[in-house]
Amino acid sequence: AQSVTQLDSQVPVFEEAPVELRCNYSSSVSVYLFWYVQYPNQGLQLLLKYLSGSTLVKGINGFEAEFNKSQTSFHLRKPSVHISDTAEYFCAVNGVTGGGNKLTFGTGTQLKVEL
């Protein structure tokens, strides 16, 4: 079994400030990790994903995430946010073996960028 924890349900930040959205996972097997973004009244779209290789993954819109196996974390970061980054962000995990066809999602973090 696997699970995802997004400890912060809401993160307010001022425009041009840096932000980190936290994601921790638990799994008994190797994992693939994903960050999705959901803008209001829209479906989810992929920001970035970690499959293997370099632990620092760069995604769209200037976001990046670092896979830390020892801390079982996959935190999302952006050095300078924009108003347009206001959205809900979901971390998701799938086991390489045993996870079957199931992506397990966290409960989401609402990022609100203020002027």
């Binding site: 693939y32 989810l44 799938n94 073996t97 199931k102």
Partner: protein, 115 residues
């Protein structure tokens, strides 16, 4: 856009009535998924399909059934809607299994209110 449409986009129905939601894709992807999104729960998998007439249950399948008679269409049916099924429903598609690290592409969602 990933070529996924959902219909209807909004629906209000009464308890005890049957409801069918449709997901249509133009990508010819093999795998299709139905999720529900609820506050505090993130996205949870209801059912998924790995080919025409091939479907399997997800973690919250009770009260739902699915059918896939064509590659491009995946139907979700609530046989007798209940208020607990009020939610936002998302369809997703992928060319390979989530267990292979494949990105899932999401539709715009259907907001269902059961009175």
């Amino acid at each position: 856009d990933a070529g996924i449409t959902q219909s209807p986009r909004h629906k209000v129905t009464e308890t005890g009535t049957p409801v069918t939601l449709r997901c249509h894709q133009t990508e010819n992807h093999r795998y299709m998924y139905w999720y529900r999104q609820d506050p505090g729960h993130g996205l949870r998998l209801i059912h998924y399909s790995y080919g025409v007439k091939d479907t399997d249950k997800g973690e919250v399948s009770d009260g739902y059934s699915v059918s896939r008679s064509k590659t491009e269409d995946f139907l979700l049916t609530l046989e007798s809607a209940t208020s607990s099924q009020t939610s936002v429903y998302f369809c997703a598609i992928s060319s390979r299994l989530a267990g292979e690290g494949e990105t899932q592409y999401f539709g715009p969602g259907t907001r269902l209110l059961v009175l």
